[in-house]
C-alpha cells in the first residue's frame, strides 16, 4: 500500500472512530439521521471526493473515493442516503448536464440537502426498458409528463427524480427516449411506497399526471435518454463493487464470529461438518469479486471507460452476495426459523441474516437482471451472433 493511500485510510479511520453509532428505528427519523451523516461526511471531504471542486466536490483522483468508501464499509458505517444522486444521476449530470444544471443540482446532492431518485423501470418495461411508455410532450417551452414508474428507491424522500420518458413518438424505441429532471414537489406527482419482502418500504411507485417540467430540465439532448441511462448504469456497476465487496467481507467476518459463539447439538457451529468449507466458499466468491473489480476498475481509473466488463463485475457481485447470505441461513440452521426482532442480541443477529438473505435475492435483479448482464456480455464482449 503506498503512503498517500495509507494516510487517507488512517484519516478516515480516525474520523470514523469518533462518529456516533446506531440509527433511529422509525423510517422518517432514520432518513433525517442519514442526511445528517452524509452532510457530516461531505464536510470531512468523504463525499464526491472526485467531483470537481466548483460543484462542492474534492477534485481528487477517483481512486480516493473508492478508498474512502471501502473504509466506511469496513467500519459498518451506514450507506449514504443519497446513493442514487451520488452514483447514478450525479455522474450523468457531470457528464451530460448544462453548466446551469450542474451548479443548481450537484452541491445539494453532495450534502444530501436534496435527495434524488431514478424513474427508469415501469410495470410493463423492466428488462425491456426501451419499451417504456411514460411520455413527455413538449408544449410552449415545457414538457408535460404522464405515466407510471416503479422500483423507485427512496422516492418518498426525494426532491428530484431522473425520469426516462418517451419524447419522440416516431423514432425507434431506443432513440425516442429523453432524460428529464423532475421536481417531486410538482403538482401531479403521486408517490406510493411499496412494502418489500424485507418488510421495509424502501421503494415506491410513482405516478405522473400531466406534470409540467420546464424545458431547461432536459438532461442532454432530446432522444439522448437511453444513452445517458446506459452510461449511468455502467458507471454504477463498475465502481460500486469495491465498497460493496468490503461490506460483504465484514458480513462474512460477522457470520464467522456468530458461528464461533453458537452451538448445535453440543458442538460449536464452526465445528459442524462442512461449515468451514461453506465459509471458505463464500469467502472465495467475495475475494474474487475484489480481485476482478480491481483489475477492471484499474483500467477505468487510468482513463479507460467503464466498459461492458462491468457486467462481469455485476454478475460476480450478485453471486458473492447471494452465496454469503444463503450460507448464513444454512449454517445458522434451526435458529433462523425462530428469527424475531426481540431486543436479545442473538435474535437481532438472526433478524439481520433473515433480512440480508431476503435482500440478496434482489442482487441479481436490480440494475439489470443477471440475464440482461449475460446478454450484454454475449453481444458486446463476445460478439456472438445476435438472437
Amino acid at each position: 500500500m503506498d503512503q498517500p493511500e495509507h494516510r487517507l485510510r488512517e484519516e478516515v479511520r480516525a474520523f470514523l472512530a469518533d462518529s456516533p453509532a446506531g440509527l433511529p428505528r422509525s423510517l422518517d427519523a432514520r432518513i433525517e439521521a442519514l442526511r445528517g451523516w452524509q452532510a457530516r461526511c461531505h464536510r470531512a471531504g468523504y463525499v464526491g471526493r472526485a467531483w470537481p471542486r466548483e460543484f462542492g466536490g474534492g477534485g481528487r483522483p477517483p481512486v480516493e473515493q473508492i478508498i474512502v468508501d471501502q473504509e466506511l464499509a469496513a467500519a459498518g458505517a451506514p450507506e449514504f442516503v443519497n446513493v442514487v444522486g451520488l452514483d447514478v444521476l450525479g455522474p450523468s449530470l457531470l457528464r451530460f448536464g448544462t453548466e446551469e444544471q450542474r451548479q443548481r443540482h450537484l452541491p445539494p446532492i453532495l450534502d444530501a440537502s436534496e435527495i434524488w431518485c431514478q424513474g427508469f423501470s415501469e410495470p410493463d418495461a423492466g428488462s425491456d426498458l426501451a419499451s417504456l411508455r411514460t411520455s413527455a410532450t413538449e408544449r410552449d417551452g415545457r414538457f408535460v409528463l404522464s405515466g407510471q414508474k416503479t422500483w423507485v428507491s427512496w422516492g418518498q424522500f426525494a426532491r428530484w427524480c431522473g425520469v426516462l420518458a418517451r419524447t419522440e413518438k416516431a423514432a425507434p424505441p431506443h432513440r425516442g427516449i429523453s432524460m428529464l429532471i423532475v421536481d417531486m414537489q410538482s403538482p401531479g406527482v403521486d408517490v406510493r411506497p411499496m412494502t418489500q419482502i424485507t418488510g421495509h418500504a424502501e421503494f415506491c411507485e410513482l405516478f405522473f399526471d400531466e406534470v409540467v417540467v420546464p424545458e431547461q430540465n432536459l438532461l442532454g439532448a432530446r432522444g439522448d435518454g437511453w444513452k445517458i441511462a446506459m452510461y449511468t448504469l455502467g458507471h454504477e456497476r463498475g465502481t460500486a463493487a469495491l465498497p460493496r465487496q468490503v461490506k460483504l467481507r465484514t458480513w462474512l467476518d460477522r457470520l464467522a464470529a456468530t458461528m464461533a459463539r453458537r452451538e448445535l447439538d453440543g458442538r460449536g457451529l464452526l465445528d459442524q461438518p462442512g461449515a468451514q468449507v461453506a465459509l471458505a466458499q463464500a469467502m472465495i466468491g467475495i475475494e474474487v469479486l475484489r480481485y476482478h473489480a480491481e483489475r477492471t476498475v484499474g483500467e477505468f481509473l487510468s482513463g479507460g471507460a467503464v466498459g461492458p466488463d462491468s457486467s462481469s463485475v455485476k454478475l460476480l457481485m450478485a453471486e458473492a452476495e447471494q452465496r454469503l447470505a444463503a450460507t448464513a441461513v444454512e449454517v445458522l440452521g434451526p435458529a433462523m426459523e425462530h428469527a424475531s426482532a426481540d431486543a436479545d442480541d442473538e435474535d437481532d443477529e438472526d433478524a439481520f441474516w433473515e433480512e440480508t438473505y431476503l435482500y440478496s435475492r434482489a442482487a441479481s435483479v436490480y440494475g439489470g437482471t443477471r440475464q440482461i448482464q449475460r446478454n450484454i456480455i454475449a453481444d458486446r464482449v463476445l460478439a456472438l451472433p445476435r438472437e
Binding site: Q276, H292, T296, S312, P385, E387
Partner: protein
C-alpha cells in the same frame, strides 16, 4: 493493487505466445509432439530468461504466471512448472542458501518437484520420505509419485523429513540409487513418473533444513499452486475462445447456434469464470511478489477458484461443441485433461478450501468480528 499488465509484461507474453505458435504444435497435434519439439520449446524459454527468477533483474510471480498462461493456452509440455516454482520459492533466500542449492538455482537446468507420496496429499508435513544421517553422509530413502517431467529434468527438489522436521534437498534426477518409472497421467501429453529413493546421497551443501526448510516448503507449495492455476487459466481461455468461434459458425435450425440464448448465456457465464479466474491469479501473483501478508490466502483463493472454474469453462466448451468434442481427435479433451491435472497439483479446490476455512475459523475464535480491508 494495480493488476494491469505492464508494457514489459505484455511484450513478454506476446513473445512467448509467438514462439509457441512457431515452435510448438497445434492443440490437435499435441499428443504426437516429439521429444525434440519439447526440447526446442524449452530451450527457447530458457533463452527468453524464463528461469532467470528473483533478484532485481529476474522474473517475479507476475511474469511467470504470464508464461504459464501462454503455455497452457498452447498445451505446451515442458518442465517449466517445477523449474519455475522451485526458483520462485527460494529466490528471497538466495543470499543465504547452501552453495549446492544456490548453484542449481542460478543455473538453467530443469528441476522437478518430488513432493507427493503414495496415498498422501499435497502437504509437506509428515513426509515419509526421509533423510538419514549415516557415517558417509546424508542419504534419502522413500517413494515419490506424480513427479512431473521426471524424464526431462536434470534435478529433483525433494521434500523429505530430517531430524524430526522438514527438509528440502536438490539431487540429480539420475542416480544408481534412484529407481524411476514412467507413470500414466490423466493428461498423457505431460510426462509423469514415480521415483524410489534407495539411499540417494545428498551433500550437506544441497539441503535446506530447520525453520528455513519449513518456510521454503510452504513457499514452494504456494508457488506451484499459483503457476498451476495460471496455466489452467490459459488452457481454459483457449478452449473457451475455440468454443465461441464454433458457436458463431455452427448452424442448426437454420441459424448459428451461438445466436440461441441458451448457448449465449452459457458462454457469458464461462467468460466471467475465465476472466475472474485470471484476475485471481494476477492478484495472488502480485501479493506473492510483494510478500504481502495475505499472499498465502490469495494463492489459496486463486487455486481453489481456478481449479473449479477452469474445469467449468472446459465443460461449457465441450457442451457447446456437442458430439464432435467427444471424439479423440478433437482438441477439447486435451484442454480438459490439462486443466484436470493442474487443478489437482499443489492442492485441489477442496484442499485449499479446507485451509481457508480453518484460517477463517481460527481467526473468528480469537478476534470476534474483526473487519478486514485491502
Amino acid at each position: 493493487m494495480d493488476l494491469r499488465v505492464t508494457d514489459e509484461q505484455s511484450w513478454l507474453s506476446e513473445s512467448v505466445d509467438t514462439m509457441l505458435t512457431r515452435e510448438w504444435v497445434t492443440p490437435q497435434e499435441v499428443a504426437g509432439a516429439t521429444p525434440g519439439q519439447r526440447h526446442r520449446v524449452w530451450e527457447e524459454l530458457i533463452a527468453f530468461g524464463a528461469v532467470d527468477i528473483g533478484g532485481t533483474d529476474g522474473l517475479g510471480a507476475a511474469e511467470l504466471c504470464l508464461i504459464a498462461r501462454a503455455l497452457g493456452s498452447h498445451l505446451a509440455s515442458v518442465p517449466f512448472l517445477g523449474s519455475a516454482a522451485v526458483r520462485l520459492a527460494l529466490a528471497p533466500d538466495a543470499g543465504s542458501l547452501p552453495p549446492g542449492l544456490a548453484s542449481v538455482l542460478s543455473g538453467k537446468e530443469a528441476i522437478g518437484v518430488a513432493l507427493l507420496e503414495p496415498g498422501r496429499g499435497w502437504t509437506a508435513e509428515g513426509a515419509t520420505t526421509s533423510v538419514a544421517r549415516g557415517p558417509d553422509g546424508l542419504r534419502i530413502h522413500g517413494a515419490k509419485v506424480a513427479v512431473e517431467q521426471l524424464q526431462a529434468v536434470e534435478h529433483l527438489a525433494v521434500i523429505a523429513s530430517l531430524d524430526g522436521g522438514l527438509s528440502l534437498a536438490v539431487v540429480p534426477a539420475r542416480h544408481a540409487a534412484l529407481a524411476t518409472r514412467a507413470q500414466s497421467c490423466f493428461d498423457d501429453t505431460v510426462l509423469m513418473g514415480s521415483a524410489r529413493f534407495q539411499g540417494v546421497p545428498v551433500p550437506a551443501s544441497s539441503i535446506l533444513g530447520g525453520p528455513g526448510a519449513r518456510q521454503a516448503a510452504d513457499r514452494l507449495l504456494a508457488a506451484g499452486a499459483l503457476l498451476a492455476a495460471a496455466e489452467a487459466t490459459g488452457a481454459a481461455d483457449r478452449v473457451f475462445a475455440l468454443a465461441c468461434d464454433y458457436a458463431a459458425q455452427r448452424r442448426q435450425f437454420g441459424r448459428p447456434v451461438g445466436s440461441f440464448q441458451a448457448l449465449r448465456h452459457l458462454l457469458a457465464d464461462a467468460y466471467v469464470r475465465a476472466q475472474s479466474g485470471w484476475s485471481a491469479v494476477r492478484y495472488a501473483a502480485a501479493a506473492f511478489d510483494e510478500g504481502a501478508p495475505d499472499a498465502a490466502q490469495a494463492v489459496s483463493v486463486a487455486k481453489a477458484y481456478v481449479s473449479r472454474g477452469a474445469r467449468e469453462v472446459a465443460h461449457t466448451g465441450m457442451q457447446v461443441f456437442g458430439g464432435i468434442a467427444f471424439t479423440a481427435e478433437h482438441p477439447a479433451h486435451r484442454f480438459l485433461r490439462r486443466i484436470g491435472i493442474r487443478a489437482q497439483q499443489f492442492g485441489d479446490a477442496a484442499y485449499h478450501e479446507r485451509l481457508l476455512g480453518q484460517a477463517l475459523a481460527d481467526r473468528a475464535r480469537q478476534v470476534p468480528a474483526k473487519a478486514s480491508v485491502a
